[in-house]
């Protein structure tokens, strides 16, 4: 029983929330207001070139302060690449697998569908797990032509996700894979897969709160 409890604690529902009728991924809400101002150059038309240059230096500093402190992760879903960067330096350049972009309609449930996209936007690492156990979501059973089990224990699948998993929200994870030959291709259900070595490096370089920028 204690073993099961430990297992459940480490278990994750990889991309389990894909069913939220996401028409195109599951982007985080964009909290910033769209900049709608249309003010044109000229409001400080009397400024000297020196003053304008000084203001530019200040603005550049302000912009630089918005960049992530420490390491951050960049995922290019078109080219299936994952980079770990610090300022402008690339610390790790890894081949990944990201979402396939395919659709699964739930059999017998009109209107219920899963869109297997990797979400785009800026996210944060929310969990760092070792020896994760995959909690198979409904779509994993339906895709195999099986019924969805009622016993939660039947959803647990250890060993599939590699040694580590980094959750970045809404059930999406960066994790390992048993199928290295598929790295570099858009084959996943939304999660980001890495080789064992690259996953270990990403785990080591990240912490809770590390930025994950996905485009």
């Amino acid at each position: 029983m204690a073993h099961l409890a430990r297992t459940m604690a480490a278990a994750i529902a990889c991309a389990g929330s894909l069913a939220l009728a996401a028409s195109h991924g599951g982007e985080l809400p964009e909290t910033g207001p769209p900049s709608a101002s249309r003010d044109l150059p000229g409001k400080r038309s009397g400024e000297s070139l020196d003053a304008l240059r000084a203001r530019q230096a200040t603005l550049k500093r302000q912009l630089a302060q918005l960049a992530p402190k420490g390491h951050y992760i960049v995922v290019d879903t078109a080219r299936n690449k994952l980079l770990v960067k610090r300022r402008d330096d690339t610390i790790l350049d890894a081949v990944a697998s990201t979402g396939s972009g395919t659709i699964l309609d739930a059999p017998g449930k009109p209107g219920t569908r899963w869109v297997f996209d990797t979400p785009r936007g800026e996210f944060k690492v929310q969990s760092r797990l070792t020896n994760p156990v995959w909690v198979k979501p409904d779509w994993a059973f339906l895709e195999e032509g099986l019924g969805v089990p009622t016993d939660p224990a039947q959803r647990l699948e250890p060993g599939t996700l590699g040694d580590y998993a980094l959750g970045f929200g809404k059930g999406y994870f960066i994790h390992g894979t048993l199928y290295r030959r598929l790295l570099g291709k858009n084959v996943t259900h939304g999660c980001i897969r890495l080789s064992d070595e690259d996953l270990r490096a990403v785990y080591r370089l990240s912490k809770i709160g590390t930025s994950v920028m996905i485009f």
Partner: protein
């Protein structure tokens, strides 16, 4: 009373579209307006304006686009960091707007057909899907509609891909005609039309990168 036959119903829009396609470039097409005066002060002032706008965008958790007219590049950015760069062959404006200042939000983009997964008994989760989407499935010419009132027409260089170019202009003409005649319900004619010439590869890359609501900032970001 005028009787409209099916044939005349097709010929008239086709004629108008062709006229728009051919006429619009001659009418009001040209380089995107740059800041008044090319003196150093104007250029720095314009770069500062872009920086001010970018700071607002970079303050939020989002990916945004920066079209740098002076560097002829379209940058995919987040938190002020350049994530990817798309090279722009040329950029022309069609319309009478004098300014492109401010940020826009993507309202409509090309629809990409997504393959459907067919449940297969005994299928392993990590098997390769039959037809995953990839970059080559993205279009090389298309329209992007932004709020407020901006239509971005992405197409290839006419000399290299004349057929794609013509198709692209026809699409733009049709869209503008539909908006003017009220054919597209609720759509106002765009006040600004930006023609972005990209290589097919770069155009596909942009089509992949854009997401609904994505902000676009236009300006000359590079000061001397």
């Amino acid at each position: 009373m005028i009787r409209r036959t099916p044939l005349s119903g097709r010929i008239l829009p086709a004629f108008l579209t062709l006229s728009l396609m051919l006429g619009a470039p001659l009418q009001a097409s040209g380089p995107v307006p740059q800041p008044a005066g090319n003196d150093e002060r104007s250029l720095v002032r314009e770069a500062n304006r872009v920086l001010e706008e970018e700071i607002k965008l970079a303050a939020a958790a989002q990916i945004y686009l920066l079209l740098d007219l002076s560097a002829r590049s379209l940058r995919i950015k987040g938190r002020g960091i350049e994530l990817h760069r798309i090279e722009v062959v040329s950029c022309d404006a069609a319309g009478n707007e004098e300014s492109w200042g401010g940020a826009y939000r993507l309202k409509a983009r090309p629809v990409v057909e997504r393959p459907k997964v067919q449940p297969v008994p005994g299928k392993e989760q990590n098997q390769e899907p039959a037809e995953p989407i990839n970059l080559n499935d993205m279009p090389a010419e298309y329209l992007l509609q932004f709020d407020p009132g901006l239509l971005v027409n992405v197409g290839p260089p006419v000399g290299e891909h004349p057929w794609l170019w013509a198709k692209n202009r026809l699409r733009e003409g049709w869209r503008r005609l539909s908006a003017w005649t009220g054919g597209t319900s609720g759509t106002q004619p765009p006040r600004r039309v930006l023609r972005l010439t990209l290589s097919p590869d770069q155009a596909r890359s942009l089509a992949w990168a854009v997401t609904d609501g994505m902000p676009l900032l236009i300006g000359s970001a590079t000061a001397p």
